[in-house]
Symmetry: C2
């Protein structure tokens, strides 16, 4: 079994055209051309952490992929810092033999999540974006923005985070990448002034409220991937003109949408699956005044697509 580490993975990534690859994956998923079993999950209490196992295959493809990704939130008493970990494994679909392991330390999960956010922005965000709002200051709060730079010309950001130190560091780092960036005093400030809002926290209670949201806003929520996590007030689903899920079955179980369903604000028939609107051109956002929400829980088909492409590119390295 071949093992490729983060250094090799980062070398090949810039050569890959990830948007079409991941789009193709979502389309295959929503067309029933994939086998994607329910997400495996393991929860840890002390120190707190969670592990997700996402796996599946595209029918008739060469490989199946199993991805393990963890988030541990650290224990400062024991001197343990928060950390992300993970690997992606490729196996031969005809024999079950292991082909390769990508020891990506969760990096590819972060990339494919950022690409999915970029795809949502491409399809769903308003044409004219004056300011992008970001709730959260972690890895995804950075990568989502990085992968937006090919989707919009807007370079104006507003950020909100729980910790002043985190916000300060975020502003410093992102300014270096050419973003014109302000600190938001509240999440209402973000709601009232941004056209494209990204929520990227592990929050367990709603951060973004419906009352101050402007007409014409698109929200991509990607923090909630376990029952119990929540970033959006469920009332936002009430005023949303379009609700998109990366996977309806997963979002109903573990995404933001689960709170909308549980509180009977929406039902499953109100949700559109991302793979079904990719490639349908610009007919999705019917009016500039609409509010749209994309709920991303992360689907194994994204891991399958990125793992295959990265593995094959690593094989071609000298």
């Amino acid at each position: 079994m071949k093992v490729f580490g983060l250094e090799e993975i980062k070398r090949v990534l810039p050569k890959l055209d990830l948007f079409p690859l991941i789009k193709q994956g979502f389309k295959a998923y929503s067309s029933g051309l994939t086998v994607v079993p329910p997400v495996g999950e393991m929860i840890f209490d002390d120190p707190p952490g969670d592990v997700h196992i996402k796996y599946g295959y595209i029918k008739g493809d060469e490989y199946y992929v199993i991805k393990i990704a963890s988030g541990f939130y650290g224990d400062t008493n024991l001197g343990i810092s928060p950390s992300q970990g993970g690997v992606m494994l490729l196996f031969d679909q005809k024999t079950g033999q292991e082909v390769a392991i990508l020891a990506d330390e969760c990096y590819l999960t972060n990339v494919r999540t950022a690409v999915a956010g970029g795809i949502c922005a491409e399809i769903l965000a308003p044409k004219k974006i004056d300011c992008i709002g970001v709730i959260g200051t972690g890895v995804q709060a950075r990568m989502q923005v990085a992968y937006l730079s090919g989707v919009t010309d807007c370079r104006s950001l507003k950020v909100w985070g729980r910790s002043d130190k985190g916000v300060k560091k975020y502003i410093e780092d992102m300014s270096l990448d050419g973003w014109d960036i302000d600190k938001a005093s509240t999440t209402d400030d973000i709601a009232g002034s941004c056209d494209l809002i990204i929520t990227a926290t592990a929050s367990k209670s709603p951060l973004l409220k419906k009352n101050k949201l402007k007409k014409g806003t698109h929200i991509t929520a990607l923090g909630s991937d376990s029952p119990g996590k929540q970033e959006l007030e469920e009332g936002i689903f009430e005023i949303a003109d379009l609700i998109v899920a990366d996977s309806i079955v997963q979002c109903v179980e573990r995404g933001e949408i689960s709170h909308g369903i549980k509180n009977k604000i929406i039902d499953q028939s109100d949700i559109t699956e991302l793979g079904n609107i990719i490639g349908t051109d610009n007919t999705v956002r019917c009016g500039e005044g609409q509010i749209t929400v994309a709920d991303l829980t992360g689907v194994a088909v994204q891991d399958i697509q990125i793992a295959k492409a990265v593995y094959e590119a690593c094989e071609r390295l000298d």
Copy 2:
């Protein structure tokens, strides 16, 4: 991340005392000291195969373990042979960081399954065994017998298999290991003449019937690990004095026991969990005339125990 291959794994295995290790795992499992989520499963049609993901941790332990094991049944039209594959991965329970991968090609799964069979025989088989019956001629049909040699002095075997060629090869190979071995003409022949019977096939319809079974027989059934597989006629549960499951929750879902439950021959309260009778001495088999059945679906705690021990022994290799 460290990678250890089959060669290193086979070098360290003889140094490990696996019976106490696996017993300790079953006891921890049945005492609620483990977290073992439901088995992840992926089914393939063409060529047929299945992949099982078993994972979990013992609370307060150093690692969590994720095990991937596959069985693919080949496609002679495409020149693809049947194969088993798999790996075991160890991660740090406090940080989620990957520690090691054991590229065991399913070997450790076979070993820990054989050890579980040995433990069942130790606890449940009659004191005096005249003949051991084996249904199946594959890897487990061999390894179960090998791991019985420390449990009983009996060296008399009877084997039944679907293919004459398979039976012939089995008899040739096992004779070399000192077993006195006969071919059974039918599974009824096994039922009528053996005191300890092992069923180790991927059969989808019952092979071992209840009518010819002798009083005082113990059966260990380990082929059924997916809904749809079945080796024992469900009527056997009707005449069994004791039914043992490696994991009640798993056996009810995917073991032989599932057929007994579905056909309303037994209910969950009729089942004893293996970890609850380990270390309870010889009080389990109350009379030599009893019929006992052990249903083994394979529990992640076996993988956890063997992976930890093998990894630590590999680390000590020169």
